[in-house]
Symmetry: C2
Subunit: 203 residues, 2 copies
């Protein structure tokens, strides 16, 4: 995920500029050490403008998460000639691969820190409920499409999606919070699960 | 997990009394709102004694996590006449059941917040690396024992353990950070996975 893709390079809105600066600051400092001042260092205009837009760090971060959610699509190719197994692979590839670079790793770490805020803060909790509902629905659609196309067996799409979804959150959490976790081993086992449990006979 | 089981009721050590008070305060306030002062409210002696033992909240919490780790056993019945599938069930029961009460839910939330500190803090990271190595080894032993006893197929114990472990962390994280997550649906799918992928023919 690059800043360029997420945030237009010539933003005409101060909000987008603030959110792009938040993205850079989160990658550099993580959640705990983030301050409006540090976001200001990545913001081309005056930092006081950030205070004018947001009451504090958490209000800004919740708007940042809302912005990310608008762009979040766990199943980007539902209408193409891509089979369900490949769509599921695309999703697993994203969640069960090591982050491509240090900046991406730091950003994933920040998202794990933001999710942890939901343990004690209802506004974050509402956000992650919404996020998880989108992810669950995305995986469910892939599984249901696979069953309809005869690629997958007659499994319960919601149970399969809940398990894969939980594994995805576990992988992102472990990647961000430990040194030794290797998501590729998990990927191998998930591929075996897809083959043994999901794929229809002869597929 | 009750405070009584973890912490002796008549502790003869100030350290154990401080850690028991930390447990109660974490359940009440979570990580973000925790202060030494608030831990002191659950401590029968003077709060200044806590400052004498620990340099700050994080040093105390890391010692608290170390204490918990001494008691942590993902596979409590390795030597009994319990088959591998049942031992695996015991572990899944713990991770994929809703917390028994509000206090337990709050404590799980606090542990998720503590794990998130590892995204930016090496001391927490070292702890969760150690924690995850123990959990991984515990699951691996169960799977290897099951293969040896002919209960399970010739799967790769380390890959199966990595997948189940990741699912466990995902479940605990989702339970603590969302309102709508239902671990029992995931449990059903994991049981189906164990049946389809692990159980030897005729078992």
């Amino acid at each position: 995920m690059t800043s360029d893709r997420l945030f237009p390079t010539d933003p005409d809105e101060t909000r987008i500029e603030i959110l792009a600066a938040t993205y850079e600051a989160l990658r550099e400092h993580g959640y705990a050490d983030l301050t409006i001042q540090r976001i200001g260092e990545h913001f081309p205009k005056s930092t006081s403008l950030i205070y004018h837009h947001y009451d504090g760090k958490d209000e800004l971060l919740l708007d940042f998460l809302t912005y990310l959610l608008e762009d979040f699509d766990p199943d980007p190719e539902p209408d193409c000639d891509v089979d369900a197994r490949e769509r599921l692979s695309g999703l697993l590839e994203w969640a069960l691969s090591p982050p491509p670079d240090e900046g991406a790793a730091a950003f994933r770490g920040a998202i794990v820190e933001l999710r942890a805020q939901a343990a004690a803060d209802d506004a974050y909790r509402d956000h992650f409920d919404e996020h998880d509902a989108l992810l669950q629905a995305g995986i469910e659609t892939i599984v249901a499409d696979g069953i309809e196309a005869g690629e997958f067996r007659e499994v319960d799409p919601s149970a399969v999606a809940a398990a894969i979804h939980t594994l995805v959150i576990g992988s992102l959490t472990r990647q961000a919070t430990t040194e030794t976790f290797d998501p590729t081993t998990v990927r191998e086992e998930v591929d075996a699960y897809v083959e043994d449990r999901l794929l229809a006979e002869g597929r």
